[in-house]
């Protein structure tokens, strides 16, 4: 099988004033790969991701996502990607069904397709009994699984997950990763940021960002060998160090929330 790159990033940079949030990063992500995008808070993960999903313009460098250029074709990118943010982001005051219908609708799926997908998704997640309940009444773990499924509704080529498992229990996290594997098996590329290092082990390849730069990029196994440690956690600690209170030129600005 020919390995094609669905994300290609070359020397991508983003500056805010005199602060460089993302500093000349380069990497490729292959089709169907689970790509872990790691880094401490403020390392520039979210900023980098925002450039890739077309809601933030890079300052310099090149990047293509799903074959489209981030500068000139963000609209095409948006049609081909799914996105789930670290904030849980379905509508609490809409029912499970209404949420699915709404998000299917804004991606332009036909009524018939939405109905088909909706039923499939509800039965897959075992939500039959509560499909008419408001999403606000569901436990967080269910919401997150639902949110992930919704981001896959329009069968995107790549799905971007921004710290998708924040705040859920280990069992739900496990189930969540099973869903990720399943999506990857079906050919969807997964681009995931996380700071749970055990989750990093589940990824095909991981990159570790430190202060705006990618300091390491390989399979978890090779990274562990390279740094002569037993776990991704130790790899991360060796690389990331604990950011000292005197942050670099950045004046302590937390670019993660931009």
């Amino acid at each position: 099988m020919k390995e094609e790159n669905v994300i290609e990033v070359n020397q991508l940079t983003k500056t805010f004033g005199d602060f460089t949030a993302v500093n000349t990063i380069s990497f490729e992500v292959k089709k169907g790969e689970i790509f872990g995008f790691l880094g401490a808070n403020g390392a520039g993960k979210t900023t980098a991701m925002k450039m890739l999903i077309g809601i933030s313009k890079p300052s310099s460098g090149q990047a293509t996502v799903a074959g489209f250029d981030v500068y000139s074709q963000p609209e095409n990118i948006k049609k081909n990607i799914g996105y789930m943010s670290q904030k849980f982001a379905l509508y609490d005051d809409l029912t499970v069904k209404e949420n699915i219908t709404f998000f299917g609708g804004i991606y332009g799926l036909s009524k018939k397709k939405i109905k088909e997908k909706r039923e499939e998704l509800i039965s897959e997640l075992g939500l039959e009994n509560i499909s008419n309940k408001l999403v606000g009444s569901l436990p967080l773990g269910w919401k997150q699984k639902l949110s992930f499924s919704v981001s896959l509704l329009h069968e995107p080529k790549i799905v971007f997950l921004d710290e998708p498992t924040g705040g859920v229990d280990p069992i739900t996290r496990r189930q969540f990763w099973e869903m990720i594997y399943k999506a990857a098996d079906q050919g969807t590329t997964i681009f995931v940021t996380t700071h749970y290092m055990d989750e990093a082990e589940y990824c095909d390849r991981v990159s570790i960002m430190v202060e705006g730069k990618i300091e390491a990029l390989d399979t978890p196994k090779k990274l562990k060998e390279q740094f002569k440690v037993d776990s991704m956690n130790d790899v991360f600690l060796k690389l990331a160090r604990i950011p000292s209170p005197t942050l670099p030129k950045g004046k302590g600005k937390n670019t993660d929330c931009n």
Binding site: A89, D93, L94
Partner: protein, 368 residues
């Protein structure tokens, strides 16, 4: 288009499932119009007064009868001693005391003049003023009816006529103002809150990552409020016509069109606010402080602009509500057409375009 309908449907779910916004949308307009119509009024009605009559003769009796016959005053108390005047006021009910001098009739015949002292409670200056004016005019009437047969050599007879609101009903003045406030509130505050809510929840990000264009997202959020605001405007007009007998002299169509224009102006303001505010709370604060207060204080709704200090008069020009109030007062009370309000209309259109332009610019900066 289909995406759009789905979006609007979702927006209505939000509105109808939130009791708070439902109340602001539908309870508030009705409550406000009724409050302003019935409770808050500049008119004098059944004001309690007291009489201190030192002479108790036929003339004073006639005058007192005249006053008590008017619907403006109720004589609550007959005072006998000067010292009781103060006590009467202090009790708070009595707003004015009429003090007839001794030998009123006698003086009138002998010296052709007699004095009545009108003492008013000026803790509320407006009311005190009105009371004085009303009593004066009752006295003047009485005097004229007495002097009917006497020919006075020089006489200036002012003939006053109040046009457009001959009964001086204050509700006629309030309805345009209340309508303005409510349209502003619903359009600007509710949209800014609903947009910032999506920001707070993180759903805005999801929407921006979707193939919907940012302007589609904004329009989708705004359209339901246009619809609801139009309904609100209609409810207010209907209420004021049927409950307060407010006339609509001009064309209803023009009134409707101008209202839609003002709704769009307010929505543009709401969008602008939502580009500045990050949270629902700050959106609400900005709307209340930045929009409601100026509308109430500076738009000429309650306080006449012509009697404001010059700097405030200048500032009042940048308040869209001022122009809208001029327009709807003209249409409703004076029955004027476009020929008379085109200038105000153009100003509103200009402001709307300015607000939209500014929001687009702000929005772009945020995306960079």
């Amino acid at each position: 288009m289909k995406r759009f309908i789905g979006f609007i449907k979702k927006e209505f779910y939000h509105i109808f499932r939130d009791r708070r916004s439902l109340f602001i949308l539908f309870g508030m307009p009705i409550a406000q119009i009724l409050l302003f119509g019935f409770a808050i009024t500049n008119e004098i009605n059944n004001v309690d007064i007291a009489i201190l009559d030192h002479s108790k003769d036929t003339t004073t009796e006639e005058i007192i009868n005249k006053i008590s016959a008017s619907k403006y005053f109720t004589i609550k108390q007959m005072i006998v001693r000067e010292t009781d005047i103060e006590t009467a006021f202090k009790k708070g009910k009595i707003k004015a005391v009429l003090n007839f001098e001794k030998d009123f009739s006698k003086n009138l015949i002998k010296e052709q003049k007699a004095t009545i002292q009108i003492i008013t409670d000026a803790t509320d200056p407006n009311t005190a003023n009105s009371i004085t004016n009303y009593i004066n005019s009752i006295l003047q009437n009485y005097q004229q009816s007495k002097n009917k047969d006497i020919v006075i050599e020089y006489q200036i007879i002012p003939q006053t006529r109040m046009v457009y609101n001959p009964e001086l009903k204050s509700v006629f003045m309030f309805v345009p103002g209340v309508m303005t406030i409510i349209l502003m509130l619903v359009s600007a505050m509710m949209t800014s809150i609903s947009i910032t809510r999506e920001k707070e929840l993180g759903t805005m990000e999801i929407l921006l990552v979707s193939p919907l264009k940012p302007f589609q997202v904004i329009i989708g959020k705004v359209v339901p409020y246009i619809f609801l605001s139009v309904i609100n405007a209609a409810v207010i007009v209907v209420l004021s016509i049927f409950i307060f007998k407010m006339p609509v002299q001009g064309s209803l169509f023009l009134l409707g069109t101008e209202s839609v224009l003002f709704i769009i102006t307010s929505l543009a303001l709401g969008i602008l606010i939502s580009t500045i505010a990050e949270t629902q709370q700050s959106a609400m604060m900005i709307s209340l402080m930045g929009l409601m207060l100026p509308v109430i204080l500076l738009s000429g709704f309650i306080f006449p602009i012509s009697s404001m200090p010059a700097p405030l008069q200048v500032i009042s020009n940048i308040i869209p509500a001022k122009w809208f109030i001029i327009i709807i007062k003209g249409i409703m009370l004076k029955g004027v057409g476009m020929a008379y309000v085109w200038k105000e209309t153009l100003i509103l259109i200009g402001m709307t375009l300015f607000f939209i332009g500014l929001s687009v610019k702000k929005y772009k900066i945020r995306l960079e």
